[in-house]
Subunit: 180 residues, 4 copies
């Protein structure tokens, strides 16, 4: 029910150079994906990043690549990253909880989240780190995903649930570098 760092994998969908500028509040979305990748790294949660036809739509935006050290990159051609066996060799296959963010919320994020949910995963979509060109599409996607038992969360919910408690060195470091 709550997110647990040992059961989690972070899945960042299609935050690519030619798509990000078209997204509503795109800068904020990218910033929050970077934030999540940074927290995941500190907490020890593995990160998987998808790229949709990167030769055409561009590769992952450089500051996210820099923040997501050790991430596993996969390339895809279907909108759903769960189509085919693109994710089969990644930590998404190993973990029960998949924390999903990226773009577009109503296309690749939603199709992936619904397909993952369909396989029985606990799926959490990070609202403030997911966007579409038109925010009306994004809002309909959040409501639709919710009706399938997908949890729509915020980046702070992710961080505080992964951390579980205050008073530790890890909490102090993340509180200082990310939350304040």
């Amino acid at each position: 029910m709550l997110m647990n760092s040992e059961k989690s994998v972070l899945l960042i969908i299609d935050v690519q150079t030619k798509l990000a500028p078209a997204i509503h509040e795109g800068e904020r979305i990218v910033t929050n994906c970077i934030w999540l990748a940074g927290v995941a790294g500190r907490v020890g949660v593995p990160t998987v990043i998808t790229e949709h036809f990167p030769d055409k739509i561009g590769y992952t935006v450089p500051p996210l690549k820099a923040a997501a050290e050790g991430a596993h990159y996969v390339s895809k051609q279907c909108f759903s990253a769960q189509a085919g066996d693109v994710l089969a060799a990644t930590m998404v296959a190993e973990r029960r909880q998949v924390i999903v963010c990226g773009t577009e919320a109503h296309v690749c994020v939603q199709q992936t989240a619904l397909d993952l949910r369909w396989t029985g995963k606990e799926v959490f979509v990070v609202a403030d780190a997911s966007g579409s060109r038109d925010p009306a599409d994004r809002d309909l996607a959040f409501a639709r995903m919710r009706s399938h038992g997908i949890e729509i969360v915020s980046r702070e919910m992710v961080a505080f649930e992964w951390l579980k408690q205050g008073g530790t060195d890890l909490f102090r470091a993340i509180n200082r570098d990310f939350i304040r």
Copy 2:
């Protein structure tokens, strides 16, 4: 869960000449119904169009008729198109997924969608292609339909789920003519 072009039928409800001008944001709703009919035609999804007492309320608006080549037209007297056997001889009876749009969202669209859901169909109502005279009625209808397991989607969700993937000639054509 996701819409699939081979399982889908598009059902356009009562977009008629004397009703459309009374609908809140009616021009946008009609434009998006035309858009859906166009995409359905390209993707090979059959289209069914209902008309409620067309001799009184007018026939389907001409640009939609033009866009929906090969559509099957049915006339109805009950608000729900599922009442009686109006749809029995159409592709709605043959397909498992019914993509519904038109007017009014809280009357004929909703009654049809709820009745179809009741028969076990997977029902998807396209929010940006469905309207009412009063938007408060439309919003209550969307929330009510959602509580019965009807999916409230956007026209782009329909197109991208029917297409499944990028990189094909079909995707490029639809992307060029409809999405951009």
Copy 3:
């Protein structure tokens, strides 16, 4: 699933002279309760009206009394009209679908609706005919009731579902006197 006039009873909660003026958009709420009582009368749906401590809070507002010919009045002391056996001798006990409206949405309307739902009734609360002093209370009540399977509807949904079809004398009369 849809409202059916032969299975329905209209239950109007506490639209009383000393309470109505305190309700947010109270005039509109009262007008819409009168509208529903009028449509119910034409369609043949019985109406039950509750009054909470009428000697203190005042009796039902006169224009509603005038519109609700033949209504069954009951007096109550608990906020939920379903507490005790207040409704036991009314048509609420006889009908499977209870269409509820009145004030306050988050107190007597909600407690009654939840209790009725608990007994297995199909409960429909009419959003545009139900109010609270503070609209935030009303909105929380609608969302809470929805989560218990109570349908939040609009007055037009009630009328069109009771009518089922156009083209009849009854439809023309109601369309002329209530909908247009």
Copy 4:
């Protein structure tokens, strides 16, 4: 389904001196927590108050301490008050219905509410007495909790359901001192 004073316990989460000023609409949230503590005292519902690292974040704000006579205070280090056995010796363990409020809605309130729900409690979170620094986090938390069967209520719903009926001395006193 409805809240019942004999089955209820009020659980106020982390309304502490160094956190409250950072909360969006913090003054209103604190005022409403005080209001709930006052009503609980009159109605005979026990109150439990948690404090998160009070030596660092400060103790419960003084006016709430004054209003919550006889409350049971517990100190915690995990964000969820249900983690460990912090609540095991309190009335939360004894009562079936837990009415939760406080801060932050999307961290300690939500984690506690979800964990309590997970144990089978009926959980009611008081929307107008719960807050976060960013209201977007609060709204996502309310929607997420709702999807787990947690009821999102208002403080007036709590009072009127605990009271059940008008006309009593207790109702008159609470109506005079709290509701009007």
